[in-house]
């Protein structure tokens, strides 16, 4: 129905688990099916939007009934200085008649109207559960619309039922690889052109690290996809290096680009001082320029010194505080390092959305003292671990935030709805400041004691 080629999507040669799997198992992929009856995370459609919505000047048309668009409308903290166009919620608003007679025409007509009214450089069309099930041929509809309108109309096969959010990330990556990357050319190239993959500029984190690249003379050719234009994605294949920021989500895209365009990739993270430095140095090394490597070393050393100085007053307040990290992907380990740099004690981290590589890194980090690696999460477990370990603060996403609050634990949102950016050297100072503010907020004192008991005595 959804015309998915899972085999290709999970062709991740670097993955340790894949290496050990039999041919047949590998074909099945590794995406975990949600257990029926349990509260679950977002669907593939949501995951596809995660990756593509930051393409700010493109139109994003959701082919489905109202709620697919309605519930996801402008729901991510991704920021753009290019345009606020991506905040407009376009949908075909599929109704009963469309379910019976098919919705392909509606897609074409909707694209026409978008073109007429807004004239965007491209339109992404997302399929959803309903439109995949009724068998709308999205590819052909998009092709027709594209020919007629003279702009790229990209089908994104992302019906929610195919799997998790993470699978949706990959599906979006495939749409980019098949339909977008390689369709344009940059005005010029330099030997210092890189792509960032998986950095969505949530809360402005891309912007927070951009000065580092500017200072070192490295050009971000294409940002995939934070604060990006459609055009810059089309020439991503001309970059010298792919830097994958959120490893699990789009490592398949990097793999694909390696095969198709012979672009090497490295993985990195901008959370914490040490990781930021490491990422910058490995970019410099991968680009292979001696002078750049020298400059990068000097630059990162200076930055680290500065940052340490700025952190001093915060660290004195954070030292030894126990923190539970409940997030996904690369953050599960990179933020551990970040927190350790603040001399905090990490009592556990979740690994539900992490790759085997991520987990390996974690095992290494936690070697000395065995900490909780939380596989299957959930509100109750979080509160239990916080209780057992006498945690001081929980770092997680919006869905768990309100749970933490019920558990009366100081909380900082580090996921998609986070309000403050935490990337790079500045981000470390920022997160330190916010953790101090949240841990030392007087409200927790009130939350702890029960008047009821006191007065009854």
């Amino acid at each position: 129905m959804a015309n998915l080629d899972l085999e290709q999507l999970f062709n991740e040669s670097n993955c340790n688990i894949n290496k050990e799997k039999s041919e047949a198992e590998r074909k099945k992929g590794c995406t975990k099916k949600a257990k029926p009856g349990l509260a679950a995370g977002g669907c593939a459609f949501d995951g596809a939007q995660t990756v593509l919505l930051p393409v700010a000047d493109a139109a994003h048309l959701v082919h489905g009934p109202i709620s697919c668009s309605g519930n996801s409308w402008d729901n991510r903290g991704t920021r753009s200085a290019v345009s606020q166009f991506y905040r407009i919620g376009f949908t075909t608003d599929v109704g009963e008649n469309d379910v019976i007679f098919g919705g392909e025409k509606k897609v074409i007509n909707a694209c026409k109207e978008i073109k007429q009214k807004y004239n965007p450089p491209a339109i992404f069309v997302y399929s959803t559960c309903v439109t995949a099930m009724i068998g709308d041929d999205l590819d052909s509809a998009c092709k027709k619309a594209s020919v007629e309108l003279g702009i790229p109309v990209i089908p994104v096969h992302s019906p929610g039922f195919v799997g998790s959010k993470n699978l949706g990330n990959k599906l979006a990556g495939r749409a980019l690889l098949e339909h977008v990357i390689g369709t344009g050319e940059p005005i010029f190239t330099t030997p210092y052109d890189i792509n960032l993959i998986g950095e969505y500029n949530i809360a402005g984190e891309l912007w927070q690290v951009m000065p580092i690249f500017r200072d070192l003379g490295i050009r971000i050719l294409s940002s995939i996809s934070g604060d990006s234009t459609y055009k810059e994605l089309t020439y991503a294949h001309r970059s010298k290096l792919n830097v994958v920021i959120c490893s699990k989500a789009l490592v398949s895209l990097a793999e694909g680009m390696k095969q198709k365009y012979d672009i090497p990739f490295i993985e990195g993270s901008f959370y914490g001082m040490r990781e930021t430095t490491k990422t910058i140095l490995s970019i410099a090394e991968a680009l292979g320029d001696e002078d750049l490597i020298k400059r990068a070393k000097e630059y990162t050393r200076k930055k680290e010194e500065e940052t340490k100085e700025r952190l001093k007053p915060h660290i004195s307040l954070l030292r030894g505080k126990k923190v539970l990290l409940y997030t996904g992907g690369v953050k599960s380990w990179s933020m551990v390092f970040m927190l350790e740099e603040l001399e905090m004690e990490v009592i556990g981290t979740s690994i539900r959305k992490s790759t085997e590589k991520d987990i390996e890194k974690l095992r290494h980090a936690f070697e000395k003292n065995q900490k909780a690696l939380i596989e299957q999460g959930g509100a109750k477990d979080i509160i239990r671990i916080m209780e057992e370990n006498k945690g001081d603060i929980l770092l997680a996403g919006g869905r768990n935030m309100y749970t933490a609050i019920k558990g009366r634990y100081p909380f900082l949102d580090v996921n998609q709805e986070r309000v403050y950016p935490f990337a790079g050297y500045d981000g470390l100072v920022e997160i330190a400041k916010h953790m101090v503010n949240t841990i030392y907020s007087p409200v927790w004192k009130y939350a702890e004691n029960s008047l009821f008991m006191e007065s009854a005595l």
Binding site: D74, S80, A81, S83, Q84, D413, V419, V443, Y446
Partner: protein
């Protein structure tokens, strides 16, 4: 609506922007107004921003500019109107009376019945007793009150009218019945402020209307203080009912100042029953919800031999103290319902506190509100940086200094007494903070600062609020009140952020749907 459009009728918001009027104004300005040149105005504006101007402003000794306080009778009015079938009566000039009624009516959007004996020049020379006799008689005949609460304005105080003697004579001479209760208080405007007037009137009514019989009843009195949030009176009653406590709320204006539109006007509506008032001295204890507004009254209550507790039930800690006071005095546990409400309030705070922590605030208003709100802001993680009370007193400053020590957020708090709104204006220019909590009058400070390039945002909490509707209906005390205050504060922060980020294609990358 429709007819206005048809006839092209415009109100003052639009009419005078028409070319015809613009021309008229321009013409008048250029020919007759010796208008100050634009660059001169800009020069002065710049000067206003300077440290020099600020220091000159703060060294003012004689002139007061835009004081944030009212005078004694206004407070006395609010205290008196909360008693059953009680006529508020002002011995003095009629104009004062008209002012207070207007001022209070503008805040509550309700009629505020009160009368005056309209002293004139001859009264100033020969004494105001004739006005008093005639006034009391007319007021009694016309408005048929069961109690008349007499306060004074400056005029009567300057000539030294003896209220006690006047009222006694009025009764002896038969102007009013002997048994009509007429408690009184001297409330000169030139001493203290409206909160002192509230205290004097409350003291006058209690001391003259109630005497201890020696027997102590298992009941507590509640005195709310100069509180212009109608919901607070209802909230304290609800809390006491949940406790199942026997109580007397001394002065309860929640009915008369929030009466239903049901086709008739009642001059007297609700209020503390006079028989309860008479028995108030026999309660074993009194809880007062304001401190600096009830100093003299507290003395009286102690003379009565009551257990006197003063709490400031704004915010979580303040309400906790109220709960413990009620529980401690009555031996009853805090009802589960209130425990749940407390949990909800804490939950609400934790939903929002990360938008408030680290944010800096200024406050100007009454001392009790200043204390409660500053503490609550700090509970939210906010930093009250400038706390200013035109009518603040030394003991208030001392208390505030102690409060500073209780929270790390109080590190930068500055406490000012006796300063007016013009002091606040230049202070905010010199030491800017983005949020100001104040009254309707503070909209001028907000506008001035905005005009000078400072993005100040006013959050209206206090008295008076003339330019926004219905805020006075809510409660700001108790756990429910904490949620209400939080709502106003955090949403004002969002308004501020939205306004700051709405620039088309400039700052709107942060103009978010989710906050």
């Amino acid at each position: 609506m429709g007819i206005d459009k048809e006839l092209n009728i415009k109100d003052h918001l639009k009419l005078f922007r028409e070319e015809e009027f613009k021309e008229l104004f321009r013409d008048k300005a250029s020919k007759y107004e010796s208008k100050i040149p634009e660059d001169e105005i800009n020069k002065i504006k710049e000067w206003h921003k300077s440290r020099e101007y600020h220091e000159l402003n703060w060294s003012r000794e004689a002139l007061v500019i835009n004081p944030i306080k009212a005078c004694q009778p206004l407070g006395a009015y609010l205290a008196a109107i909360g008693f059953e079938k009680t006529l508020v009566y002002s011995h003095g000039s009629q104009g004062c009376n008209a002012y207070f009624r207007t001022h209070l009516a503008r805040h509550f959007k309700e009629p505020f019945p009160a009368c005056s004996d309209a002293m004139t020049e001859d009264a100033a020379v020969f004494g105001g007793y004739n006005n008093m006799y005639e006034g009391l008689e007319n007021a009694y005949t016309l408005y048929k009150p069961e109690m008349i609460a007499v306060n004074t304005t400056c005029m009567a105080e300057v000539i030294g009218d003896d209220l006690n003697a006047f009222i006694k004579n009025a009764k002896d001479k038969g102007h009013i019945p002997q048994d009509l209760p007429v408690p009184y208080a001297h409330t000169p405007s030139f001493v203290g402020s409206h909160i002192v007037g509230y205290d004097n009137m409350m003291h006058g009514i209690l001391s003259q209307m109630s005497t201890p019989s020696g027997e102590k009843k298992d009941r507590i009195n509640i005195i709310v203080g100069f509180d212009t949030y109608i919901g607070d009176y209802r909230e304290i009653k609800r809390i006491l009912d949940l406790f199942g406590v026997d109580y007397i709320l001394l002065s309860d204006p929640s009915d008369i100042l929030d009466s239903p539109a049901n086709g008739e006007y009642k001059m007297y509506y609700g209020g503390t029953k006079l028989e309860d008032l008479k028995d108030a001295a026999n309660s074993k204890a009194t809880i007062l919800l304001q401190k600096y507004t009830t100093k003299k009254t507290q003395e009286l209550l102690k003379e009565w031999g009551q257990d006197v507790r003063v709490v400031n039930p704004i915010g979580i800690k303040g309400t906790d103290e109220l709960m413990m006071a009620i529980s401690g005095l009555t031996g009853k546990p805090v009802p589960e319902q209130l425990e749940i409400e407390r949990g909800r309030a804490v939950d609400a705070i934790t939903d929002s506190y990360y938008w408030i922590y680290g944010k800096q605030f200024a406050f100007q208003g009454d001392p009790d509100l200043a204390y409660g709100l500053s503490r609550y802001l700090m509970e939210l993680g906010g930093e009250p940086v400038h706390v200013m009370c035109t009518n603040g007193t030394k003991d208030w400053v001392e208390d505030m200094e102690k409060l500073k020590e209780e929270f790390p957020q109080g590190k930068e708090m500055n406490v000012y007494m006796g300063k007016d709104m013009w002091h606040l204006r230049t202070l905010l220019i010199q030491e800017f903070v983005p949020f100001l909590i104040g009254t309707s009058y503070h909209k001028y400070v907000e506008r001035d600062l905005n005009d000078l390039g400072f993005p100040l945002k006013l959050i209206r909490i206090g008295y008076p609020i003339h330019d926004r509707h219905h805020l006075h209906r809510f409660s700001i005390i108790g756990y429910q009140g904490a949620i209400q205050l939080l709502t106003w504060i955090v949403n004002s922060i969002f308004d501020y952020i939205d306004n700051d980020t709405k620039g088309m294609a400039t700052t709107d990358y942060s103009y978010d749907i989710i906050r």
